[in-house]
């Protein structure tokens, strides 16, 4: 078995959305390389509770990189140092004995803090709500194979559909833009003939909602693509802007 590591943690504490927050520090001496990052935080919380201190709150659920609940900013990087890995699948073997780790929530006006590292991402739901779908009622679908779709297009649609809605793109963007999130959904649906019908309206509705929620605009920093745990390409954003402009002039 591997030897335990000592890790110095600095994490954000904030009691609620309207009160100032601050960093707290704690040193863990029993970190094992096989632990996931979130398991290390579980261990931290167990120690804090046994000392009668308040645990730190953070969002998580599946812990296998697919639900998109976790969204920690670790040493300034959304989801931490490993490319295409959500922080729930980041393992402590990526750190060494004596490392200092700072953990913050994603910071964006559109993601108000609920408590500590937990933020409110309901703005993402509202962006989907105004158009992130094909308008088809249950029971009204035609036979699945009646409409062939080029394999290449379908595969490309999948790449965009793989978005887990974690919000790392927003956290990493200097403008706190949700363009990659929004663009990915548009690009997914646009690849299918059944998505084509509402293409233009969908782009306008979703982009307008994104602005309404207080997300910034895209300035092509491409930080979002760099941190996306699913490796979604920013070409989605170019396509979104093209469709939006086209809809406005037509």
């Amino acid at each position: 078995m591997s030897k335990d590591m000592t890790i110095h943690l600095k994490y954000w504490k904030q009691a609620g959305p309207d009160v100032p927050g601050h960093f707290e520090e704690y040193t863990l001496d029993t970190v094992n390389e096989h632990m996931s990052f979130l398991e290390m935080l579980d261990v931290l919380n167990e120690e804090l509770q046994l000392k009668g201190k308040e645990p730190v709150e953070f969002d998580y659920d599946c812990r296998e990189g697919i639900c998109g609940s976790c969204n920690l900013v670790i040493n300034g990087q959304a989801h931490g140092p490993k490319a295409e890995v959500a922080c729930c699948q980041l393992h402590m073997r990526n750190y060494k004995d004596g490392d200092k780790i700072t953990i913050e929530p994603p910071r964006a006006a559109a993601f108000p803090i609920i408590k500590d590292l937990v933020v409110d991402r309901s703005a993402f739901d509202r962006i989907i709500e105004v158009g992130g779908y094909v308008s088809v009622k249950t029971g009204s679908a035609q036979e699945a194979n009646a409409l062939p779709v080029e394999k290449e297009k379908s595969d490309e649609a999948f790449e965009y559909a793989a978005c887990i809605g974690c919000g790392a793109c927003v956290a990493a963007c200097p403008n706190a833009s949700a363009s990659l999130f929004t663009g990915a959904k548009l690009a997914h649906l646009n690849k299918f003939p059944q998505g084509e019908v509402e293409r233009s309206n969908r782009a306008v509705a979703m982009v307008d909602q994104m602005k309404e929620e207080g997300f910034g605009d895209c300035s092509n920093f491409a930080e979002c693509e760099a941190v996306c745990p699913k490796g979604i390409s920013i070409s989605a954003i170019a396509e979104m802007r093209r469709d939006y402009m086209k809809a406005l002039v037509s």
């Binding site: 308040e54 659920d61 296998e64 739901d125 992130g132 249950t138 036979e143 809605g165």
Partner: protein, 640 residues
């Protein structure tokens, strides 16, 4: 209590069609006068909420996550079955039905399972119309693969993320209805009780997980789509927040809980590495198509696996089951891994794992071919385990994955409480004692898109539109008080052990005694241990923080309290069922070769339990729904 399945009479193929024809309907202008609550937003809940709102009902949707899109259906990897027979390989609705009944070891209702197989085709149509990016052939048509040892290729898939893609389809359909005003959407709300007035479900009590506020919600019907209870084991492949609370609180209010001992253990998971472990990660069982499972023949052989020659390796599945080999069903593979580890042949630092070796297929097909099939799984393994499966065998061990038991429902998916429905993994209905691969998504969506939206109308047609008792009715006040009292009690114990500590200890009792293999002695011991630990929980647990704030540990405390009661019921159910069937292996009931022996004469029934209280021990009364098999002949499963 007489359990009436309400399964329609007539030939199997006619039952659902006939039932749809005969069910009562609610007139379009009356639909908007009905309120329906749906708890849970996974495949079953999301699809049901969207479909019922489309029909015109006023739907209120609740989930514990911060968004409906995060429900645990999202983690399903493999695929979804449907008997489209696109590959022309002899599939049919009958065959899908038969495989599901047989796979469940003849412990499910013929009528329900046939309907599931029948409806599955429509699910694929629906998902494609929504833009779900299923895998396709070069000609542009949908691709299929064989999955979980099925003899036909009937599984539709979207890489290893089929659950995610289907869930996002349902979620988007739901959000469309939120936009149109058909759904009132309440994420970060947890159901703590169901409200029953004059014997009918009339609402729920929730806790707002952000503000801590308890709220009362009134409706004409309540649907629980709250998933399974695998987290009673503490370690499982379930998401961390998956829990039994909604179903269990309904059970405490009188809803029968069926077959709680039927738990599926998945054979190919990454083994436990230490006490800090918070969950287990599943790797698709497609790995068993090419990987060979083995352990060293000699106890305590601590050589590197690559240094152990073939003749000193025990390929136990290939030796014991020459015709199916490494592709035996999940329960058989899991059980045999436990047997070799119990014999002391297990490998790895804990001795609780077996090798899954790709050496031979890499030699035969080349590394690139293997990478193209399993690359993402190999990467995931290396990321978690820190070992390279291209160079040395993976280590795997079984983990709890899915629970076939759940709330008892009739053919209409209604529990024994009128107006209270249960769908998806939360009910017991379609998988019998063992679920086949790629069938969970099928059942969730079948219930949500097609079955419930039809059957709920049949119930509502008899409820006078606009019936309102008001949330200041005594039943609401009492239910809220019950929830409040429990929260206060948990916060006031101020004991010395953490919630996680209790949950982990409980999980170990359940895993050791109500896990892969069970016997009378262990089950009786487990019941005592659970009772003792539960008593300690209620006097010595430490719950941090406050009630009027975001407090994840308080949420967990309530859920663990329910797991403590469920665990005892699971042991009781397992004890009662003196036979082996599907995933339920009683060591007393197996052949000399270690194969399960079913007892159709005495145990061909659904065990449905009624809650009677907890007084040191859990009080429950057993009711039996006999399973009649009109259309299939019962056979002993054999994979030799």
């Amino acid at each position: 209590m007489k359990l009436d399945s309400k399964a329609p009479e007539g030939p199997l193929e006619e039952k659902w069609r006939k039932h749809k024809k005969e069910m009562k309907l609610v007139a379009p202008n009356n639909k908007r006068k009905y309120e329906v609550i749906v708890v849970g937003t996974g495949l079953a809940g999301g699809a049901a909420a969207a479909s019922m709102a489309e029909l015109g009902y006023n739907v209120k949707s609740f989930c514990i996550q911060d968004s409906a899109r995060r429900a645990h259906s999202i983690a399903a990897q493999g695929g979804i079955n449907a008997a489209k027979n696109y590959p022309n390989d002899g599939d049919s609705i009958w065959r899908l039905f038969y495989d599901t009944i047989k796979g469940g070891d003849y412990r499910s209702r013929e009528s329900n399972v046939y309907r599931l197989a029948e409806v599955a085709n429509e699910i694929i149509d629906q998902a494609v119309a929504q833009g779900v990016p299923f895998a396709r052939e070069y000609g542009g048509l949908l691709a299929n693969r064989s999955f979980g040892g099925a003899q036909v290729s009937r599984t539709f898939y979207a890489r290893g993320q089929t659950g995610q893609q289907l869930l996002l389809g349902a979620y988007q359909a739901m959000m469309r209805q939120v936009n149109e005003g058909g759904i009132e959407y309440h994420p970060r709300h947890e159901m703590l009780d169901v409200v029953i007035i004059d014997g009918q479900a009339r609402g729920i009590i929730t806790r707002d997980l952000v503000s801590g506020e308890l709220k009362r919600w009134e409706a004409d019907a309540v649907v629980l789509a709250t998933g399974g209870y695998g987290n009673v084991f503490y370690l499982s492949t379930n998401a961390k927040n998956s829990n039994v609370t909604a179903a269990w609180r309904a059970h405490r209010k009188g809803a029968l809980f069926a077959n709680p001992c039927y738990v599926q253990v998945h054979p190919t998971c990454i083994p436990v590495s230490g006490d800090y472990q918070s969950k287990l990660t599943l790797m698709s069982e497609s790995l068993r198509n090419d990987g060979r499972v083995w352990v060293p023949r000699k106890k305590g052989d601590d050589r590197h696996p690559n240094d152990i020659p073939d003749e000193e390796r025990f390929y136990y599945l290939e030796e014991k089951y020459p015709s199916f080999g490494n592709l035996v069903p999940r329960d058989v593979a899991s059980r045999n891994a436990k047997i070799v580890c119990d014999e002391g042949l297990g490998v790895g630092p804990t001795g609780l794992s077996v090798y899954l070796d790709f050496r031979d297929v890499i030699k035969r097909d080349g590394k690139d071919t293997v990478a193209s099939k399993y690359g993402n799984l190999f990467d995931m393994y290396e990321n978690i385990a820190g070992e390279n499966p291209y160079e040395q065998p993976m280590r795997i061990y079984p983990a709890v994955h899915y629970t076939m038991g759940g709330l008892w429902v009739d053919y209409n998916l209604m529990t024994n409480i009128p107006g209270l429905f249960a769908t998806g993994e939360a009910n017991f209905s379609d998988h019998g004692a063992n679920r086949l691969g790629a069938s969970a998504l099928m059942q969730g969506l079948s219930d949500g898109y097609f079955v419930l939206p039809a059957t709920i109308g049949n119930y509502l047609a008899d409820v006078k539109p606009g019936t309102r008792y008001g949330t200041d009715h005594n039943a609401f006040i009492e239910a809220e008080k019950g929830a409040q009292d429990q929260i206060d009690k948990l916060l006031n114990i101020n004991g010395k052990r953490t919630i996680v500590d209790f949950h982990r200890t409980l999980g170990k009792i359940v895993w050791d005694n109500i896990g892969i293999a069970r016997n009378k002695e262990d089950l009786e011991k487990a019941i005592k241990e659970i009772q003792e630990l539960r008593e300690e929980f209620w006097t010595n647990v430490y719950v941090p923080g406050e009630k009027n704030n975001y407090n994840k540990y308080l949420e967990f405390a309530g859920r663990v309290a329910d797991f403590f009661e469920l665990a005892e019921l699971m042991a009781r159910d397992a004890l009662e069922r003196e036979e082996s069937c599907g995933c339920h292996l009683r060591e007393e009931y197996q052949s000399e070769e270690g194969e399960a022996i079913r007892n159709d004469e005495d145990f061909s029934y659904v065990a449905a339990w009624e809650f009677k209280g907890v007084n040191g021990q859990l009080q429950e009364e057993l009711y039996k729904e006999n399973l009649e098999f009109e259309f299939v002949e019962l056979k002993q499963r054999s994979y030799k």
